[in-house]
């Protein structure tokens, strides 16, 4: 299982090396004083990468433990939360989207509803003032606010 992971990685990296080398062929420079050009370095790296991945395929080593299926689901869950957070970041505005994201993240890391809700409200409001007033970062205020006014 562990060794298989290294083999798959090796094959994927071999593919990456091929892609890097093939793409490099399309870098067209009409005229240049530079005898090396933009191709040589990536092609050289692709060759090194290909050799290293061959070693990995032939002599795979053990690596870390892979998470269980349940953990995988939770990992995807957290990624979805962060993806949706990014999606809503400008649409809902900083405070609201951040509050929602904190609520969901705190819940998925084992907080009770009450604790998660308190963390979300306190952290979203405090960081809003910290970022916008102390650090003077311009944060998205949200389209729904502009729609109202």
């Amino acid at each position: 299982m562990m060794r298989a992971a290294d083999r798959i990685l090796g094959i994927a990296l071999l593919g990456l090396a091929a892609f890097v080398a093939v793409q490099a062929q399309s870098f067209y420079v009409p005229f240049s004083y530079d005898p090396v050009g933009p191709k040589a370095f990536p092609v050289g790296l692709a060759i090194i990468l290909a050799l290293l991945s061959l070693v990995l395929i032939l002599r795979p080593g053990p690596n870390g433990q892979w998470p269980s299926a349940a953990t995988c689901c939770r990992l995807v869950g957290v990624l979805v939360i962060m993806g949706v957070y990014a999606l809503l970041f400008t649409r809902l505005g900083y405070t609201l989207s951040t509050g929602l994201a904190i609520l969901c993240l705190a819940r998925s890391f084992g907080a009770s509803w009450v604790k998660a809700l308190v963390t979300a409200v306190v952290m979203a409001v405090v960081t809003y003032f910290l970022f916008s007033d102390v650090l003077e970062i311009s944060l998205p205020s949200g389209q729904w606010l502009t729609a109202l006014s």
């Binding site: 005898p35 990995l56 053990p62 705190a106 890391f109």
Partner: protein, 498 residues
């Protein structure tokens, strides 16, 4: 000869920079103490915010260096109290630190480790002051060809010393370099690997890269270890944090030796605190473990890795400031931070940017003293940080990451890119890669290609320029020795035993 230091203290002693050194030390210790957040993650998360303050280059660097050295201090807390190393550099600290805490000596252990950190860092900062200007004078002779070979050497020593698996370390570095290539080629204006996405024309932003790689992947890793029993271990009572003179004197030889070892390993490009801690611990065990007390809570076994990893943190500045080649993953991040200010560290650093180089070194002296003064009385308070639950910590990291990346260009695509890089970083960590090598590759790759192309422009395409000078021949030899040396040595030893 030490004009730069006098000038540096002028810079570092202004109220603003003094305050920043203090703030950096404090924040760094707090971040380092947080379980799982080492110096590199701390700097990754805090750097974008440091930029928004609109600080001049030297002040920003002083703040970031304070965070860096502070985090090396803070990393020991969870090692000693919970047996969970706060970062890779503090792994060795658990070996004798945790047994000491279990014996009810958590307070003295924290105190002693603060003192040995201070002594180790002091040795290395003195070394930095003495050797960096000398090395810079020597490095002026480096042309593009020599710098290219120097980077080959840096990658070779990194492949051997960093991480468990040299092949994966090398692959990580190559991946980092490839990511660095994305974007417009500065020499010819050709777009490389941009997939026709305008967002990628300028390449992958440094801040997006480090936040994705370190902060986002850390969040995913934390989710996995949520049910790790070590995370909910009983906190030992800290008790008195002051150390007695007797304990310090008992460890003085260990501290001095380890400080020196740590400095030398830190100077070696590509090798960081984790190697320094491991080498100093095994050396000390061999030299002074006559009664077999190492691993059972020997004070010297705690003092040695702590002195060494803090020494290596300061030592890593030597190659970074003089050659522009970082000595560790974290200094690679600092190098990237400097380049955002259009300062490329190198031999001219001490003449052209003496205020930055000198100010940084002077601030290390100040920061080191501040850290000792903070850590002795406040260790108990910092230890409280360890009890912050994950469900507060993770949302906080997420929010800091999002805002840090968003404020760059007020652009959502950067945030999506950060998430993608975070997933890649997580997968790489699960596959046994060290992310420090990826970031070193990312930072050094561009410089490596530039120097190679510059060298070959000078020679008109003749590769011979790469091994023409004595310096480059020496560096090629050193690279080969470091690559096959350990393997050869192993064979010789085996054949001698047989």
């Amino acid at each position: 000869m030490f004009d730069f230091l006098i000038q540096g203290f002028d810079v570092a002693l202004t109220p603003l920079n003094l305050g920043l050194a203090f703030a950096g030390a404090l924040m760094g210790t707090l971040f380092g103490a947080l379980p799982g957040i080492g110096p590199i993650n701390g700097i990754a998360i805090l750097m974008p915010l440091a930029y928004t303050l609109g600080l001049p280059a030297e002040s920003a660097l002083i703040l970031l260096a304070g965070i860096y050295t502070g985090a090396e201090y803070g990393g020991r807390m969870s090692s000693i109290l919970l047996n969970v190393p706060g970062d890779a550099g503090a792994v060795m600290t658990t070996l004798d630190g945790y047994p000491l805490a279990k014996k009810g000596m958590a307070g003295p252990a924290l105190g002693l480790s603060a003192v040995s950190s201070f002594i180790g860092a002091s040795i290395a900062i003195l070394g930095l002051t003495l050797f960096a200007p000398l090395l810079a004078k020597f490095a002026v002779m480096f042309g593009p060809a020599e710098l290219f070979v120097m980077m080959v050497f840096a990658f070779s020593s990194m492949a051997v010393m960093m991480g468990k698996d040299p092949i994966k370390t090398a692959i990580g570095a190559v991946l980092g370099i490839l990511i660095g290539i994305i974007g417009v080629d500065s020499g010819t204006g050709v777009l490389r690997y941009t997939f026709d996405l305008p967002e990628l024309y300028d390449g992958i932003d440094f801040v997006v890269m480090i936040i994705g790689l370190f902060a986002i992947s850390e969040i995913l890793l934390m989710l996995e270890s949520r049910h790790n029993p070590a995370g909910e271990a009983e906190m030992p009572v800290v008790g008195r944090v002051l150390v007695s003179m007797k304990e310090v004197l008992f460890c003085k030889a260990a501290m001095l030796r380890s400080g020196l070892i740590g400095f030398l390993i830190g100077v070696l490009p590509g090798t960081g605190a984790s190697v320094a801690g491991a080498v100093s611990y095994t050396t000390e065990k061999r030299l002074s473990d006559t009664e077999g007390t190492f691993g059972e809570g020997d004070m010297r076994g705690l003092a040695a890795p702590e002195a060494a990893n803090n020494a290596s943190a300061a030592g890593a500045f030597v190659p970074m400031l003089t050659l522009g080649i970082p000595g560790s993953g974290t200094t690679a991040v600092l190098l990237g931070a400097l380049m955002l200010y259009n300062i490329t560290p190198g031999p001219m650093m001490f003449t052209e940017h003496a205020d930055v180089a000198g100010g940084l070194i002077a601030s290390l002296y100040i920061g080191n003293l501040v850290l000792l003064l903070l850590n002795l009385p406040l260790a108990g308070l910092f230890a409280k940080v360890l009890t912050i639950p994950r469900w507060v910590l993770v949302p906080a990291i997420a929010v800091l990451s999002f805002v840090g990346v968003y404020q760059l260009h007020s652009d959502l695509s950067a945030i999506y890119l950060m998430l993608v890089i975070g997933v890649v970083g997580y997968l790489l960590r699960k596959l046994g890669f060290s992310l420090a090598t990826v970031i070193l590759g990312y930072v050094l790759g561009g410089l490596m290609e530039d120097n190679l192309r510059r060298a070959l422009s000078i020679s008109g395409g003749d590769l011979g320029i790469l091994w023409q000078s004595g310096i480059s021949i020496g560096l090629w030899v050193a690279s080969v020795v470091i690559l096959i040396g350990p393997w050869l040595w192993g064979r010789v030893r085996r054949s001698m035993q047989a």
